[in-house]
Symmetry: C2
Subunit: 301 residues, 2 copies
């Protein structure tokens, strides 16, 4: 599982800082999460093979999470994309994108599917054999969802030495990987555990931005491997966080601690601070395993 | 008169090239012409004092001329702008911008005035004491206008030595600058020419992008000091120019020659070519005074 943080600063794009966009690589998927202005250039700059993106998740319709989407969609058209694209985001996203394409007489020649979100409860919005994606309803100035990405448990790993030793026919392998025991011709039963190894523990990633401090999300994100939680402010500006429905680094760390996550990734920093190290210092007073997202930084878990 | 060419490449933004945006400084105005994705970062990068922009002219609603506008409008809000902003562009621009602001619950706290264009004839869209702006209807795949910016003739310059020599009262200066003769108490008439110098010749700038080769614009732009004319292609790709309703460098030069302009500025280059010098070479076979726009380049006339 890899997370490319293409942009992770709050509000406006600047010469050296980009607003929010991430690419999550998970089980052969390349999911784009949020798409601020400039995202397509960030994708090029950091050499992300963005033709592989087939699913885009938009947390909310503030410009610093969304204004790069019309351009990215148009660029895919200009690059001759044929594969369908799925876009998940708040209700209204379809109207906005289709209006812009209509005004430019620039319909895509690939299929564009919109999955508009309105629920205030968590819901399953994507599922295939390998991965699920659920929304994490958040609290912000407009309707906002985080996203919880979970790998499914893989098949059990075949113990090649064991199956060969017991002369088990290859036609049985598929069932064995699915966890079934093997009944031999003579009636003997080989318990699955003797023929397989445990699959790797499925990984999980919770993306929570933008949001006020919201302890009610803790049960849903309990035990995830990585939590990205916004920390627009430090505690010294807690009043601004409350006013604008953002969180502080300390609050993000409290969520991480309560949810007993593996690692906390901070981001969505206000540019008022001289160094983002201050966010890490503040968070680590509460929760030790903290990393700082930064534009162009890649994390592998 | 200064022209900051912030971006002048066709189609998608890339790591090293930006789509169209320009700032024209003329008579204390700072006019933004087109606003592709990334324009606000280009404005910062090239240290243009963009709080001085009060008028934005959008040629057409293709993304590479327009998708930076929602973000720029939002950034002005975040920066606490109070001055009104005027936006001139094709019908539909108001619906698009207001929808995006509505979805983000991000209304501007400054006044935003839209001047939507529908006419296929040239029209006066801005005028004050110093400057006029007319549309230049162009031919492209969607409704498109170029813009013709003209300084008005300044007042005549007072010949201070002369007015003092003849003892003319200061209360007369305003009329003298307006070109009036002076009648002295004894009935003598001082002809204005003895008391003033000619004002500088007013400057003019014609911006024509995007457009197919369109000789019918020649009478309108006759004799302008500077013509920016798109040259997406070279003659070797003339078939693509015809198909996509763009122009070649040679065609741009033909317009410049026919209209007898002072200087031709080329731009809106397709990124298929290894060097933009090829555009200059091709154009100069027709018209000698050619300059190449490039991202971040500033021209002073």
């Amino acid at each position: 599982m890899k997370i490319h943080t293409l942009g992770c600063y709050a509000a406006t794009p600047r010469t050296m800082t980009n607003p929010t966009a991430q690419v999550l690589e998970i089980k052969n998927h390349m999911f784009l999460i949020d798409c601020a202005e400039g995202t397509q250039v960030q994708l090029r700059k950091h050499k992300v093979k963005f033709s592989r993106i087939n699913h885009i998740f938009i947390s909310h319709l503030h410009g610093d999470h969304f204004f790069g989407l019309p351009g990215l969609i148009s660029t895919f058209r200009l690059l001759g994309r044929e594969k369908e694209m799925h876009i998940y985001g708040p209700k209204g996203i379809k109207e906005a994108i289709t209006l812009l394409l209509k005004l430019g007489d620039s319909w895509t020649n690939y299929h564009l599917y919109f999955h508009e979100l309105i629920s205030k409860e968590s819901e399953l919005i994507f599922e295939d054999e390998k991965v699920t994606v659920h929304t994490i309803p958040l609290t912000h100035r407009v309707y906002t969802n985080g996203f919880l990405f979970r790998e499914k448990l893989d098949d059990r790993k075949l113990n090649i030495k064991a199956v060969e030793k017991y002369g088990i026919d290859k036609s049985q392998y598929r069932n064995i990987k699915k966890g079934k025991n093997v009944v031999m011709d003579n009636g003997d039963i080989f318990p699955n555990k003797k023929l397989t190894f445990d699959p790797p523990k499925p990984k999980s990633y919770a993306y929570c931005s933008d949001t006020a401090y919201m302890p009610s999300i803790v049960p849903q994100i309990e035990g995830v491997d990585v939590l990205y939680h916004e920390s627009t402010f430090l505690e010294s500006e807690k009043h601004l966080a409350a006013k604008t429905k953002h969180a502080t680094a300390k609050e993000a760390a409290s969520i991480a601690k309560e949810a007993n996550v593996g690692q906390l990734l901070l981001g969505h920093y206000s540019t008022r601070y001289k160094t983002i190290d201050l966010f890490k210092e503040e968070a680590q007073e509460i929760f030790s395993n903290v990393a700082l997202a930064d534009d162009g930084k890649m994390f592998e878990f």
